[in-house]
């Protein structure tokens, strides 16, 4: 019943007649009969929009872990931050939503300028001069960062801190099969990476070093050791940074990073079960021509008015094909526009404010949780908006129990770090109140008892 096709039967008949055809099937005469589908698709017939909406709502109804049902203390790269109505209203404008890659800049200044502003904001957050117009998500940015580093150094060995998100590490492993990179995982000790002394050059020496800031356990690592390591080995320093933490923390660039990669979901994108999110990518000028993905630059039009356009197209796959710096084509522009709006809403002071509020909530939550009998800190390193604890019971079990009390308690560290089964990663954003945290701690005390 549902359809978005305007044509009436008369019109279809008229158009077919114009083509000298007498049926729709004839349009597909070029398709060999042998491969043609001989029956209807085994799918239900179309129904009304309200039916479908009801069905989608019923899917939603079966999700217990909605942040309007369970108070969210889970993080691990996806955070329950404030998304104001104004961000939704602006980023949701149909001109942004229903356009595509700005191939015709004359009628795409809206998206182009918004992306230009996004690039500027990301570059400033990264403390690096250049940012691209977005990648798929944090993990794919990490993969691209490693690819850039390997290309720049010509060395395929990649040292990856165990403090990098486990899913990112899994992705690095997946894609390394194609690129041939050798991924070496460098373990965490007491919450921070224990960098080996290792080789100082040559083929065994890393071409890329990748570290998280804060790392997956929420810990802040001293990145000057990484810079020193890179200086020594000639590796590129790639930092997987939480861009929201930049409200308080030193930037990747400030620590001396060559490349920053990160997850931009924190800037106005809903949890959404993990997507679409937003891969951030920034680098030093030296690597400009290796930058993956799209880049918007400023220029002028024939009347000398400021105008924006996608530039350095020669890096991209539609021109350089197999020699392109990456295969990314469709990216996450709408999320980049969203981030630009959200960052505009936060502004200079708001980014500090939100990071500070997260840090305070986390401090408050950490104190409350560590006051519980049998709950101990996973590590002592400083944290920002997330921390890991060791529970007296398996974390999975505790998470189930906490749901009954109305909380998404956090993320089990099972699989992420050695012996993680009793580890729980807990995040507290600026949306968490003292009352919520108090209730959480009370419930947790019961759940672990």
């Amino acid at each position: 019943m549902g359809t978005y096709i305007p044509h009436t039967d008369d019109e279809l008949a008229g158009m077919l007649a114009f083509l000298g055809l007498s049926s729709m099937d004839e349009l597909f005469a070029v398709v060999p009969e042998a491969v043609k589908l001989q029956h209807d698709l085994e799918l239900a017939d179309g129904v009304g929009e309200p039916d479908v909406l009801a069905q989608m709502e019923s899917f939603g109804g079966r999700n217990r872990a909605r942040n309007d049902r369970l108070v969210c203390f889970a993080g691990g790269g996806a955070y329950d931050h404030e998304i104001p109505s104004v961000t939704q209203a602006l980023a949701g404008r149909s001109e942004f939503v229903t356009s595509y890659t700005p191939y015709q800049p004359e009628v795409a200044q809206g998206v182009l300028q918004a992306v230009f502003e996004f690039q500027t904001m990301v570059a400033r957050i990264a403390g690096l001069p250049v940012s691209n117009a977005s990648l798929y998500d944090g993990g794919s940015s990490a993969v691209e960062g490693v690819n850039l580093g390997v290309a720049a150094t010509g060395r395929q060995t990649v040292w990856v801190s165990e403090g990098i998100h486990p899913h990112w590490r899994q992705m690095l492993a997946t894609f390394a099969v194609g690129t041939g990179h050798r991924i070496v995982t460098v373990p965490l000790v007491d919450g921070v990476t224990a960098w080996p002394d290792g080789p100082d050059g040559g083929d065994e020496s890393p071409g890329v070093v990748l570290v998280g800031y804060p790392n997956y356990l929420g810990c802040l690592e001293d990145l000057s050791t990484v810079r020193t390591l890179c200086d020594r080995t000639g590796a590129l320093m790639v930092v997987g940074a939480d861009p929201l933490a930049a409200g308080l923390l030193r930037s990747a660039g400030n620590w001396g990073a060559d490349v920053m990669v990160g997850e931009g979901q924190v800037f106005g994108t809903s949890l959404g079960f993990g997507g679409p999110y937003l891969g951030l990518f920034a680098c030093s000028s030296a690597h400009l021509r290796r930058l993956p993905g799209r880049l918007v630059g400023e220029t002028v039009d024939v009347e000398d008015r400021v105008a924006y356009v996608t530039t350095l197209r020669a890096r991209e796959q539609d021109i350089r094909r197999e020699k392109a710096t990456s295969n990314v084509c469709t990216n996450q522009t709408l999320m980049a526009v969203t981030a630009a709006v959200q960052l505009g809403w936060l502004g200079t002071s708001g980014l500090v404010e939100v990071a500070t509020r997260c840090a305070r909530a986390t401090r408050y939550a950490r104190d409350a949780v560590l006051a519980i009998d049998g709950v101990t800190p996973w590590a002592d390193a400083p944290v920002l908006r997330e921390f890991a604890v060791r529970l007296p019971r398996p974390a999975d079990q505790v998470i189930e129990r906490m749901a009954d009390a109305g909380f998404l308690a956090g993320i089990s560290l099972e699989g992420a770090v050695d012996g993680g089964g009793h580890g729980l990663l807990i995040a507290a954003t600026e949306r968490r109140t003292a009352d919520q945290i108090d209730a959480y701690a009370a419930a947790l005390a019961k759940a672990v008892a």
Binding site: A74, P129, F175, L271, G347, I399, E400
Partner: protein
């Protein structure tokens, strides 16, 4: 009395309330958000938490603390709204009019899908929540996967890839894993010269060498050329069908047989799936792997360049290699769960940070359910009808390099216009904007000179097609009358006119801070 010599308040920052950049009122440029910034402004507001205001110094050790805040911009909510609303007025979109951008399937995107993507029960779910608490999402994903398999004739699919290119790379890694499992190491992947640029780029990232085969004079894969490069070092072929010329590869059965014969796999670039929904299925054509651009075929809007979703479906023998974890049906277990996550035994691993662009996937499923099986077939029929109508209607005004029945899109060429009058495809494209239409894709596929690739999609009415055709006809006529120079001056009415792309690349200004 005020002192007459007092100057007005000196203020920094551009005037946010001045709306001269909206095309409604004028033709100036919109300042950047940074130019509206004024120290001390703000738009943000947060909830009251009752959490003690511990000083920052006590929260973050000195070596980690930044010394100055990141300078984002300081604007009022009012100026923020004005700025982005004006920017939106400087942007063409499907919602404003026809967007016949070939290979991009810029069809109408039903608003109901926006509602779906905003449902609290879907949008508010944390991706790391256990399966027991996300049964709705898992059910949705499994239903979508099953639907896509039915549409493509494949056995199973991964929903993880975030876009078409990500799907391609995933598919190539599947190809590699499969060959390796057969104990075979192969190095080459064949790609027709008409292929989209992501295909060769993905092949490279997949660790393969690209072998290009030319198209023949029908615009299809040259069978002889193909045969000449087939050997047991060929891992497979990546084929777009209908190809980027909008043509159906009629020899598909022979191609499949030939590639399979040397032990290669067939990869289907399904960006153009819109053309064949319910008519012919990649699985039935003998393909082993297919990625789909849901953001094209299944009307999940393109967002100014993304997000997309590029699920990959595979035939039975490749299922064990799919990325994981995958949402799968189980029985109803003791906590009442019907779905869980499972990683296939020989999985190539994870290709997305979480589970794919899930809200895009939800939109796609909603779109499919509204249309239904019957509706999907009708989409293909009308998409193909529209494209052929345009082809037929314009074959006097423009060159049609391969003037035979096309599928969902048609590639015209301005070759003669260029030869005769020096008017290029680009000039046609720019001039068309003034007629109220977005431009077609130009200069792609690379194998056609002065290509103008038109994909009307099924949601444009015959009236719109007629108007588009007339506009293109009259532009062709105008090209002859007015000549190259006059044509190159267009567009005249858009917010900016032709932009200096060379300068953008030469004097690179990738951020506001790079302005001099």
């Amino acid at each position: 009395m005020p002192d007459e010599t007092t100057m007005p308040t000196t203020t920094t920052g551009a005037p946010g309330g001045r709306a001269v950049s909206t095309p409604l009122l004028g033709g100036e440029s919109e300042p950047t958000l940074f130019e509206f910034s004024h120290p001390g402004r703000r738009a943000w507001s947060f909830r009251t938490t009752g959490i003690p205001e511990v000083p920052v110094e006590d929260l973050v050790p000195a070596i980690h603390r930044r010394t100055a805040p990141v300078d984002i911009a300081e604007v009022s909510e009012r100026d923020l709204v004005a700025h982005f609303t004006r920017l939106s007025h400087r942007q063409f979109s499907v919602d404003l009019g026809a967007y016949p951008l070939g290979s991009c399937t810029m069809k109408y995107n039903p608003k109901v899908c926006d509602t779906v993507a905003g449902l609290p029960g879907l949008a508010g779910v944390h991706p790391a929540a256990p399966a027991s608490m996300t049964q709705g999402w898992l059910a949705l994903l499994v239903e979508l996967e099953e639907t896509l398999c039915e549409v493509t004739g494949m056995a199973a699919a991964t929903l993880q890839p975030a876009a078409g290119a990500a799907g391609e790379l995933t598919g190539l890694l599947l190809m590699r894993a499969w060959h390796e499992a057969q104990g075979s190491v192969r190095h080459k992947v064949i790609i027709p010269d008409s292929a989209h640029g992501t295909n060769p780029a993905s092949v490279t990232l997949g660790g393969y060498e690209v072998v290009t085969v030319p198209s023949d004079d029908r615009g299809c894969v040259d069978m002889d050329a193909l045969r000449s490069v087939l050997d047991d070092d060929v891992a497979g072929i990546m084929l777009t069908n209908p190809n980027t010329l909008g043509l159906f590869e009629e020899d598909i059965a022979e191609i499949a047989a030939a590639v399979h014969e040397v032990g290669g796999l067939l990869y289907y670039d399904g960006a153009n799936l819109n053309a064949i929904l319910g008519v012919v299925r990649p699985g039935d054509m003998g393909f082993d792997i297919i990625h789909m651009n849901l953001h094209k075929t299944f009307a999940t809007p393109h967002g100014g360049g993304g997000p997309g979703a590029g699920p990959v479906a595979v035939s039975e023998r490749l299922v064990p290699f799919l990325p994981g974890p995958r949402p799968v049906r189980t029985g109803v277990d003791d906590v009442g769960a019907e779905f869980t996550w499972a990683t296939p035994e020989r999985s190539i691993g994870r290709v997305h940070t979480w589970h794919g662009n899930t809200l895009v996937l939800a939109r796609a499923l909603a779109y499919i359910l509204v249309n239904g099986g019957d509706g999907l077939k009708r989409i293909a029929q009308v998409a193909v009808l529209n494209a052929n109508w345009i082809r037929r209607r314009l074959h006097d005004a423009y060159d049609v390099p391969f003037d035979r029945p096309c599928m969902h899109e048609v590639v015209l060429s301005a070759k003669s216009l260029k030869a005769e009058y020096g008017v290029r495809a680009l000039d046609i494209a720019k001039r068309l904007l003034e007629e109220g239409f977005h431009s077609p894709t130009v200069y792609f596929p690379l194998i056609v000179d002065e290509a103008l690739m038109i994909e009307p999609t099924e949601t444009e009415s015959p009236q719109t097609l007629e108007a588009l055709a007339r506009a293109l006809e009259s532009i062709a006529a105008e090209a002859g009358e007015l000549g190259a120079e006059a044509m190159a001056a267009h567009p005249l009415v858009t917010p900016v006119r032709r932009v200096d792309e060379a300068r953008a690349a030469r004097t690179l200004i990738p951020t506001f801070d790079a302005r001099t």
